[in-house]
Symmetry: C2
Subunit: 275 residues, 2 copies
C-alpha cells in the first residue's frame, strides 16, 4: 500500500515518524475516516468539512488546500487500486523539542483495505456503558483510551462498543452516534456529540418517513425505547439489541430500524451511481 506523509507518497510499511511527535507524546491530534467505493467517496465534502473544521478548532494548519487534498486522495486510491477501501486522514501537532509544545503539523493520508462491513451488524449488537464525557466532542480527536481500557471486558461480554453517559444523559458510542425510536419518533442527542456524517444523512433519509427530534436523551429513555441503533461510516446503521445485561425492545432489530437501514442503503448507493 502507498500512503501520503506531509508532502510525498511513500510505501505504508516505511511510514514512520519521530517519537517526539506530540500526537504520540501528548495526544494532540485529530483525524477523519471515510470509505472509497469504486473510486468514489460518498459524502466526501462532508468529511472534508469536518476534518478542516477539527483542524481549525485546534489551530492546526492542514498542509494541503482542499483542492490539493482531493487530488492526493484520488491519486492514492488510484495507486493502490482497491475496489473498496478506507481513507484515514491524521494530523498532529508535529515534532516537539520538549515533547510538549507543538511545532509544524505532521499529516498522513492512509489508504487501507476496509476491515468491517455493515453486514456484520445486521443481527444487532450489544453495548457496554461508561460514565465519560469526551473533551470537545465536536472535534474528531484521537483519544480512544477510555474504550480501549475496556477491550478485555468488551470481548468477554461480546459487546461491540461503549455507550458514553454522564449525569443521566447519553452522548454517543465509541465510534458511532446513537439513535432511539419511541412511539414511531426518531430521537438523537443534539449536543455533546460528534456530528457524524452518517448521522446527518440518516436524519435526511428519515425526514420523509417519520418524526425526528434532536434533543437531550436520558439513559432511562434508551432502556425504555422501542428500538435503538447506532450510525457510523463503517457500520452505516447497526441495530442495538442489548445494553449491558438489559434487552432493548424485543431483543431483535426493530421494524423501523430495518426500514431506515434499507432506505439508507438505497440513498447511499445513489450517491455514487449519481457520479
Amino acid at each position: 500500500m502507498i500512503c501520503f506523509f506531509n508532502n510525498r507518497f511513500l510505501d505504508y510499511e516505511h511510514a514512520s515518524l519521530h517519537v517526539s511527535d506530540v500526537g504520540l507524546q501528548r495526544g494532540f491530534g485529530i483525524f477523519d475516516y471515510f470509505l472509497a467505493v469504486g473510486g468514489f467517496i460518498p459524502f466526501f465534502d462532508d468529511y472534508l468539512d469536518r476534518f478542516y473544521g477539527s483542524a481549525m478548532s485546534l489551530n492546526l494548519d492542514v498542509p494541503l488546500s482542499r483542492g490539493e487534498m482531493k487530488e492526493k486522495i484520488f491519486s492514492l486510491i488510484h495507486q493502490n487500486g482497491l475496489t473498496r477501501s478506507a481513507i484515514k486522514l491524521l494530523l498532529t501537532g508535529g515534532y516537539s523539542d520538549d515533547l510538549y509544545l507543538p511545532s509544524v503539523p505532521n499529516f498522513f493520508i492512509i489508504n487501507l483495505p476496509v476491515t468491517h462491513s455493515p453486514d456484520e451488524y445486521t443481527e444487532g449488537i450489544k453495548l457496554l456503558l461508561l460514565d465519560y464525557i469526551r473533551f470537545k466532542p465536536e472535534i474528531k480527536t484521537t483519544f480512544y483510551l477510555p474504550t480501549l481500557s475496556l477491550l478485555h471486558e468488551l470481548k468477554q461480554k461480546s459487546a461491540t462498543e461503549v455507550l458514553y453517559h454522564n449525569s443521566g444523559y447519553i452522548s454517543e458510542t465509541t465510534r458511532a452516534n446513537m439513535f432511539i425510536i419511541r412511539n414511531e419518533t426518531l430521537i438523537t442527542p443534539s449536543t455533546g456529540v460528534l456530528k457524524g456524517i452518517t448521522r446527518k444523512h440518516i436524519l435526511q433519509v428519515a425526514s420523509g418517513l417519520m418524526a425526528a427530534e434532536q434533543r437531550p436523551v436520558t439513559l432511562q429513555e434508551v432502556f425504555e425505547a422501542d428500538e435503538v441503533f447506532i450510525t457510523g461510516t463503517s457500520k452505516h446503521l447497526a441495530p442495538v439489541v442489548r445494553i449491558e445485561d438489559q434487552v432493548i425492545g424485543t431483543g431483535k432489530p426493530g421494524r423501523l430500524t430495518l426500514m431506515l437501514a434499507e432506505e439508507f442503503n438505497g440513498y447511499y448507493k445513489r450517491q455514487y451511481s449519481a457520479e
Copy 2:
C-alpha cells in the same frame, strides 16, 4: 543523545516508530517523567511504582522487569553524560493492523536535557481555568489536548498551566497537583487526581510543620485561600498568585509556601546526598 526503544539503545534522532502505533492513532499510551541529578534519581522507586501501576491498569505489558528497567535507565544516563537531565518512559499499545486494536506494546526511554528549573517559578505563576475531568486521573495517560487547545490563550495571558475543575470542585492542573493553605492548614484534593510524587513528599515534609488535609476542595475555597501552590517533578513547588483575572492571597508567594519550598529543597537534596 541516546535513547532506548523496545530492546535496544539507539540515537534519539533515529527513534522513529510506524504510524500505525495506537499511542498515536488512538491515544492509547502511558508515560512517566522524572529527573536524574548527577547520576542519582530522586524518588526513583516512587516513579517506577507509578509507571508499572499505570501499565497494569491498562493491561499493558512493560517489556522490562524492574531490575532491567533500572539498569537500562542508569546505562542511558551514563551514555549521555548529562549532569542534570529528564527521563521519560513512554509505553503504547503498539502497532495495529486496523489502526484500532492494540498488539505488542512499544516502549521508549528518552533522556533529554531538562528544559525547566524550579527557579523559573519563584515569583509566582498564573493559572487559567478549564471545566474538565481527566479520564482515570490516577493513570498517567498521554492526553494533554485539553490544555494544548488553550496554548494561544495561555501565552496571551502569560499563564503557565490550566486548573481543571468540575461541578464546583477542583482536581489538578495540567502537569501538577494543587495545594491551598487556609488558616495555616495545608489542603489538597484527595481523589480524582494523579497522585504526584512531589505531592506525596510535600505532604511528608509538611507533616512535621503544619496541619494537612486530603479532601475534596471547591473552586471557591481556592479563590478564598491565603496561599496557593502547585507541585510537580520539574517545578517542585510553584506559588500560584493569580487564577484567571483574580489575585490569590496577597498576589505574592505566601510565607508558608516559601517555607515549605525551602524545607522541600533541603529534603530533596538529602535524597541524593544520602546515596
